[in-house]
C-alpha cells in the first residue's frame, strides 16, 4: 500500500464546558488512502463530526486540538501555523456540509458563492470563474441557467449538488463530507451518493464521508472507520469492518441497520443502552457497559490489535472475533443484556 493521503495519529480534541473538559475525540488514529471513499461512522456524539472539523481546523470557539498529529501531504495540520493552514483550506481540503440550506449564504446567488471561492481562493478572474462555474454545474448535473439563482430557489437535493460543486471548485485532494445526505429523502440520497461516487472515481478524489447511517456507508464506501465514544473502535476495508467486523460495536451496528438496497434482511436488533457521557467516561473499554461479550478484563484499557494488516481493532477480545461474530448474529445475544 502506498503512503496514505491523510494519517491521523492519536488525535485529541476537547471542549471546554464551564470548568470541565469534555474529550470528544480521545486518541483517534486512522489512515485515509488516496483515491478512496472512507466512511467515518458512529452514533451521535461519538466525535465523528469533531474529527471532521478538526481536519479543517475550523472548530468551535470552546474546542481545542489538545494532542496528536494530522499528517497530510507531509505536513502536520495540527501544528502548522494558521496562515499555512488557511492556504491549504479548500484548495487541498474541501468540505461538504450536512445542511446546504444553512451553509449557503442566503443573500448571494450561487454563482457569486462559487465565484468567491474561485476568485479569492483560486486566483481566477471573473471570466475564468464564470467558465469554471458552468463546468462545475455540468459536472453535478444542474442546468447552467440556474447559476444566477439564490440558494432558497433550489430544492434540498439540488442544494446538496451545489454544495458538491462548491467542494469540487478548486480540485481539492481531499473532500470531507459531513452527513451530506442525512437531511434528504432516500431517493434523493441515492442520486446524490451515485453522483458523489461517480465524481470521486472519475476525478480520483479522496473522500471522507461522515455519517451515522451504515447503509450509506455500505452503499458507497471502500473503507470504514468506526468510532465509539471518542475513540476509533476499528478501521479497515468494507469487507473487514462491515461484512466481517471484529469489534462487538461494529457487529451491533450491522444488526441495527437495514441496507439502502431495500431488501429487508430480517429483524433489526438495536444495541441497548446509550453511549457514555464523555465528561466522565467509564474506565477501560468504553463500550463495555453495552457489550454482550464484556469480561472482567475489559475494565482495563483495551489494546489496539491488528487482526489483519491495515485492520486495527480496539478490543481485548479481537483475536476471538470469529467466534463472537457467530454469537453476535443472534438476536438473543443482544437482548439478554437488556
Amino acid at each position: 500500500m502506498t503512503e496514505p493521503l491523510l494519517s491521523v495519529r492519536d488525535l485529541r480534541v476537547s471542549y471546554q464546558v464551564g470548568r470541565n473538559f469534555v474529550h470528544a475525540v480521545d486518541g483517534a488514529s486512522f489512515d485515509i488512502p488516496r483515491g478512496s471513499i472512507t466512511g467515518l461512522v458512529g452514533e451521535s456524539g461519538c466525535g465523528k463530526t469533531t474529527v471532521a472539523r478538526a481536519l479543517t481546523r475550523v472548530i468551535a470557539d470552546n474546542a481545542t486540538i489538545s494532542g496528536g498529529q494530522i499528517l497530510f501531504d507531509g505536513k502536520d495540520l495540527a501544528k502548522i501555523p494558521e496562515k499555512e493552514m488557511n492556504a491549504l483550506r479548500w484548495r487541498d481540503i474541501a468540505f461538504i456540509p450536512q445542511s446546504a440550506m444553512n451553509s449557503l449564504d442566503p443573500v448571494y446567488t450561487v454563482e457569486y458563492q462559487l465565484g468567491e471561492v474561485l476568485r479569492r481562493r483560486g486566483g481566477m478572474d471573473r471570466k475564468q470563474a464564470r467558465a469554471r462555474s458552468e463546468e462545475l454545474f455540468d459536472m453535478v448535473g444542474i442546468d447552467r441557467g440556474r447559476l444566477t439563482d439564490y440558494p432558497h430557489q433550489f430544492s434540498g437535493g439540488m442544494r446538496q449538488r451545489v454544495a458538491i460543486a462548491l467542494a469540487l471548485a478548486l480540485d481539492p485532494k481531499l473532500i470531507i463530507a459531513d452527513e451530506p445526505v442525512t437531511a434528504l429523502d432516500v431517493i434523493v440520497q441515492r442520486q446524490i451518493l451515485d453522483q458523489l461516487k461517480e465524481l470521486q472515481t472519475r476525478l480520483g478524489l479522496s473522500v471522507i464521508l461522515v455519517t451515522h447511517d451504515i447503509s450509506v456507508v455500505a452503499y458507497i464506501c471502500d473503507r470504514t472507520v468506526v468510532m465509539y465514544a471518542g475513540k476509533v473502535a476499528e478501521s479497515g476495508t468494507m469487507q473487514q469492518t462491515l461484512t466481517a467486523p471484529s469489534h462487538p460495536y461494529s457487529m451491533g451496528l450491522r444488526n441495527a441497520f437495514p441496507d439502502l438496497q431495500g431488501a429487508a434482511s430480517g429483524i433489526l436488533t438495536p444495541i441497548e443502552g446509550a453511549p457514555p457521557n464523555l465528561a466522565n467516561p467509564p474506565a477501560g473499554c468504553r463500550f463495555r457497559p453495552r457489550c454482550p461479550f464484556a469480561l472482567d478484563l475489559c475494565g482495563s484499557e483495551p489494546p489496539v490489535i491488528d487482526v489483519a494488516p491495515g485492520h486495527p481493532v480496539l478490543c481485548h477480545r479481537a483475536s476471538e472475533s470469529e467466534n463472537l461474530r457467530i454469537e453476535a448474529a443472534k438476536t438473543e445475544t443482544w437482548m439478554a443484556r437488556a
Partner: protein
C-alpha cells in the same frame, strides 16, 4: 412581475392608512374641548359677524359635510388657513419641513453609520475589554433624555467654549440667495452641528445594539463557519457574510427610527430653537391653531408612512428571499 404586484398592493395599503390618519386627525381636532374659533374671533364681534365668519370657514355646516369638504380640499393639496398666521398652512409647512428633514436625516445617517460599524466591531471583538467598556457607555447614551443631553451640549460647546451657535439655523442678518446656498453654507452647518449631534448621540444606541446582537447570531450560522472552512479572509467572512446578513433588520429599523425621531425632534427643536415642524406643532397646539397643527401632524404622518414603504422596498432589495419569494 410579482414585484409590481407586491408594490401595488403595498401602495393600496398605504392609501388606506393615509385615509385613516386623515380621518382621525379631522375628528381629533373637532372632539377637542374649546371653540376652535376662539383665537380668531374677537369677542367684541357681533353675533352676526361671528356667524358670518363661522360660515366663511364652513363651521356652520354639519360634521359630515365638513368632512367631505376637508377631504376634497386635501385631495387638491389645500390644507386650509392658519388662524395665527392668517396664511395658507401649506406654505408654512413647506417652509419648515426641509429644516426638520435635514436635522432628522443628517443625525440619523450619522447615528446609523456609526452604530452599524461599531456594532459589527463589538460583535467581532466579543469578550474583549473594548466590548466590556463600550456596552455600558452605549446604554448610558440610550438612557440620557434628549433635552438634557441637548442642554449639556449647549452649555459646553456653545456657552462655555463658544464653538457653536446656540440656536436657530443662521446668524442674524445673514442672507442667502436660495435654499441650496443656505444649506451648504458654513453658517447653517455650524447651527446644525449641536442639535444633530444631540439626536445622533441619542439614536446611535439602537442600531449599534441591534447590529451587535444580529452579528452575534449570524456569526453562529453555518454559512459563516463554511466561509472560514473555505479559507476566506477574516475581512471577507466578517464583512461580506456576517455583516451583510446582520444588516437586514437594522435597515428596517432605520425607517421606523425616522418616525420615532420626528417625535424626538419636537423636544430637540425646542431646545435649540430650530425652526422645524416639531416646534411649530407644539406652538400650534398651544395657540389652538388647529389647521396648522392638523397640517403639521399630517405631514409628519406622511413622512412616517413613506419611510415605512421605503423600508419594505429596501428590505426586498437587500434580501433576495423576499423579492423572489
Amino acid at each position: 412581475m410579482s414585484n409590481f404586484k407586491a408594490v401595488g398592493s403595498r401602495l393600496l395599503q398605504l392609501a388606506f392608512v393615509l385615509w385613516a390618519v386623515v380621518t382621525i386627525l379631522f375628528l381629533m381636532f373637532r372632539l377637542m374641548p374649546g371653540n376652535p374659533m376662539a383665537a380668531y374671533i374677537d369677542p367684541t364681534f357681533t353675533l352676526e359677524q361671528q356667524q358670518q365668519l363661522m360660515a366663511q370657514f364652513g363651521l356652520d355646516k354639519p360634521l359630515w359635510q365638513q368632512y367631505l369638504i376637508y377631504l376634497g380640499n386635501l385631495l387638491q393639496g389645500e390644507l386650509g388657513q392658519s388662524f395665527r398666521y392668517r396664511a395658507p398652512v401649506g406654505e408654512r409647512i413647506f417652509e419648515l419641513l426641509p429644516n426638520t428633514l435635514i436635522l432628522t436625516f443628517s443625525s440619523l445617517i450619522v447615528a446609523y453609520a456609526f452604530g452599524i460599524l461599531a456594532g459589527a466591531y463589538l460583535a467581532w471583538r466579543r469578550g474583549s475589554w473594548v466590548e466590556q467598556a463600550a456596552i455600558p457607555m452605549v446604554l448610558t447614551t440610550r438612557a440620557m433624555p434628549e433635552f438634557w443631553l441637548g442642554m449639556v451640549l449647549l452649555a459646553i460647546f456653545s456657552f462655555s467654549l463658544g464653538w457653536f451657535p446656540a440656536g436657530g439655523t443662521r446668524n442674524p442678518g445673514a442672507e442667502y440667495s436660495g435654499l441650496l446656498d443656505l444649506y451648504t453654507s458654513r453658517d447653517f452647518l455650524a447651527h446644525l452641528a449641536l442639535p444633530a449631534a444631540t439626536l445622533a448621540i441619542y439614536s446611535q444606541g439602537l442600531p449599534l445594539l441591534l447590529m451587535r446582537s444580529n452579528m452575534l447570531d449570524v456569526m453562529k450560522e453555518d454559512f459563516v463557519t463554511m466561509a472560514r472552512i473555505k479559507g476566506l479572509s477574516n475581512w471577507t467572512v466578517v464583512v461580506r457574510h456576517a455583516a451583510r446578513n446582520a444588516l437586514l433588520p437594522v435597515m428596517t429599523s432605520f425607517a421606523i427610527a425616522v418616525g420615532y425621531q420626528l417625535q424626538g425632534n419636537v423636544v430637540v427643536e425646542s431646545v435649540f430653537s430650530w425652526p422645524g415642524l416639531g416646534r411649530e406643532l407644539v406652538n400650534a397646539v398651544a395657540a389652538s391653531d388647529y389647521p396648522l397643527a392638523q397640517g403639521a401632524f399630517l405631514m409628519i404622518a406622511l413622512v412616517v408612512i413613506f419611510m415605512n414603504l421605503l423600508a419594505d422596498l429596501l428590505y426586498a432589495f437587500l434580501d433576495p428571499r423576499i423579492s423572489h419569494a
